[in-house]
Subunit: 292 residues, 2 copies
C-alpha cells in the first residue's frame, strides 16, 4: 500500500506555478490576478476564501477579495461580477458557494465570463468538458486527475467506480475518467443513492473514487485486493480525540481498507489540498489563454 | 420479448406536436419555425435534411432550408447563422453535420444562439445537461428517453450499460440515465473501445444501450435473460437481399439476442425514427420557452 500524499503533490504543483509566475515576471508578462467574492459570514467559507488568498500570495498571483454581508442583493452581486468581467486586469473570478437563499447560484455562475471561470462551474466549461474540448476543469476532479497522473497510476482499460453523481465531483469525474486521454480511457460506473448492490459493484473496481459525503461508507469487504482508492469525502464529525472537538472523516473506512489497496488517499491530506492548487492552475491557464 | 416500436411512438409524438401547433394557431400564438442549413451534396445529409423539412410540414411548423455548395466559406456560413440568430421569427436553428474540412464544427456550433440550439450540441446545452438544468437534449438520447418512458420501462436502481462514449450519444445518454429523474436514477457503466472484458460487464446489465457503430457487436452470450436492449447503431452494410444492395445493421445481433430480452428496439424502426421527432419537440420547446 502506498499513501497518495496530496499535501506533497499540491506543494509541488504550487511551486511549479510560482516558478511560471517568476518567469512571466522576468519576461514582463502579466501577473495572474484572481478575484474572489465572499457573501456572508459562514466560517467554512471564510476559511476557504482566506486559504485561496494565501495560496495566491504563495505563488505570486495578485488577488482581490470582496466581502459582502449576507444581506447583499442579488443585483448588487451580479453587478460586481459584471465589473470584474469587464476588468481586463482580472484573469480569474470566483464566487464562494454556497450563497444565501435569496441569491440564485445558477444566475451567479451564468453571469461570470466563461473565460474567467476558474471554478469550472459555468455551463460552457461543463459543456466543453463533455465535448472533450480544452477548458477549465472543476477543482476537485482536476486535482484527482493530477494525483493519478503524478503517481503514474494506470487508468486505461481499468474499471473505475465513481460513488456520487454531483455536478461538482461525481459527474465531471466520470467524464474525465472515461474520456480519451491520459489519465482517462477507463470504463466508468457511476453509482449513487439509488444504486442497488453497491458493494457488488465496488468489489469489481480497479479504482474507486468515493464522493458521497457519507463517512466511512466504503468498508474493507467492498474493496478488491490491490485497488486504488480515492477518498473525496470530508464530513466533520464529533470527536473527543481532538482539541476542537471535531474530526474530518472521509467516505472510506481508512483503517480497515488501507491494507487491501495499492494506493489510497488519506483524509485529511489527500484530495483536499489539491483543490486550491487546481484553482491556481486554472487561473494561470486563464491568463496564458489570453496570450498576455 | 416485446418489440419497441419507434415508428409508432415517433408518429404519436409528432401527432401530439401537431396538436400543440393547432392549439397555438387557434390562440393566435406564434407558429414554430425551424431553419436548417445544409452544406455540400452528401447524399445522407441531403436525405436527413429533407426528412426534417417534411417532418416540419407534417406537424405544421414553418421551415426554412438553406443550401450551400461545399465550397462555401466558413465566414459566410457563420454570417448566415448570425442572421438567423437575430431573426426573431426563427425559433430553432441547426446546421447539418458533418461539415467540409475547411469549416470548424466547433465554431459553427458555438455561433448558434443557445436559445435556438434545437440539436442540443451547444456547449451551454451540454453544460446544463451536466448540471441537471432544463435544456435542449441531443435528439438521439432524448428519443431513447422518450421510448423508455412511453413503454413504462423501469430504470430506477437498474444497471444500465452504455456502449460508446461519443458526445452525441454515449456521453449524454450516461448523464440522462444516471440523473435524478424519471426515467433516470440508473447505475450507469460507460464502456468504449478501451474497455476490457466488455461481455462480463454487459452480462450484468438490466438495460444495454449500444451506440458503438459496430454492426452486430452485441451477441446473445453478452446479454442477461430479461434485459432491455436499445440499439442505436445504424451501419450500412452490403446485402444481396435488398434492391439497393445495402442494408442497415444495428450494433446488436438482433436475431440471436431478441429472445433473451424483455424489450428490444429493431433496426430500422427503433431509435432512428425518434431523432427527428425529438428535434421537433425541441423546436416547440424553443418557442414555448420564449413565451411567444
Amino acid at each position: 500500500m502506498e499513501l497518495i500524499d496530496g499535501k506533497k503533490i499540491s506543494l509541488q504543483l504550487k511551486e511549479e506555478i510560482a516558478q511560471a509566475v517568476a518567469e512571466r515576471k522576468e519576461k514582463g508578462l502579466k501577473i495572474p490576478h484572481l478575484a474572489v467574492i465572499l457573501v456572508g459570514e459562514d466560517g467554512g467559507s471564510q476559511t476557504y476564501v482566506n486559504m485561496k488568498v494565501k495560496a495566491c500570495e504563495f505563488v505570486g498571483f495578485k488577488s482581490t477579495k470582496i466581502d459582502y454581508p449576507v444581506t447583499v442583493s442579488e443585483e448588487e452581486l451580479l453587478n460586481k461580477i459584471r465589473e470584474f468581467n469587464n476588468d481586463s486586469d482580472v484573469d480569474g473570478l470566483l464566487v464562494q458557494l454556497p450563497l444565501p437563499k435569496h441569491i440564485s447560484d445558477e444566475k451567479v455562475i451564468d453571469t461570470i465570463d466563461q473565460s474567467k471561470d476558474v471554478d469550472g462551474f459555468h455551463p460552457i466549461s461543463m459543456g466543453k468538458l463533455v465535448a472533450g474540448l480544452p477548458t477549465f476543469l472543476p477543482a476537485t476532479p482536476a486535482g484527482i486527475m493530477e494525483l493519478l497522473d503524478r503517481y503514474n497510476i494506470e487508468t486505461e482499460g481499468k474499471h473505475c467506480v465513481v460513488l456520487g453523481r454531483s455536478h461538482i465531483v461525481g459527474t465531471p469525474m466520470t467524464l474525465l475518467m472515461s474520456r480519451k486521454a491520459k489519465p482517462g480511457n477507463a470504463t466508468v460506473t457511476m453509482c449513487h443513492s439509488r444504486t442497488k448492490n453497491i458493494a457488488e459493484i465496488t468489489r469489481q473496481a480497479d479504482i474507486i473514487i468515493a464522493a458521497l459525503g457519507s463517512p466511512e461508507f466504503v468498508k474493507a469487504d467492498m474493496v478488491k485486493e490491490g485497488a486504488v482508492v480515492i477518498d473525496v469525502g470530508t464530513t466533520r464529525v464529533k470527536s473527543d480525540q481532538t482539541k476542537s472537538g471535531w474530526k474530518l472523516k472521509g467516505d472510506v473506512a481508512f483503517d480497515e481498507v488501507k491494507d487491501k489497496t495499492s494506493y489510497i488517499t488519506p483524509v485529511p491530506g489527500g484530495v483536499g489540498p489539491m483543490t486550491i492548487a487546481s484553482l491556481l492552475k486554472n487561473t494561470l491557464m486563464a491568463v496564458e489563454m489570453k496570450g498576455k
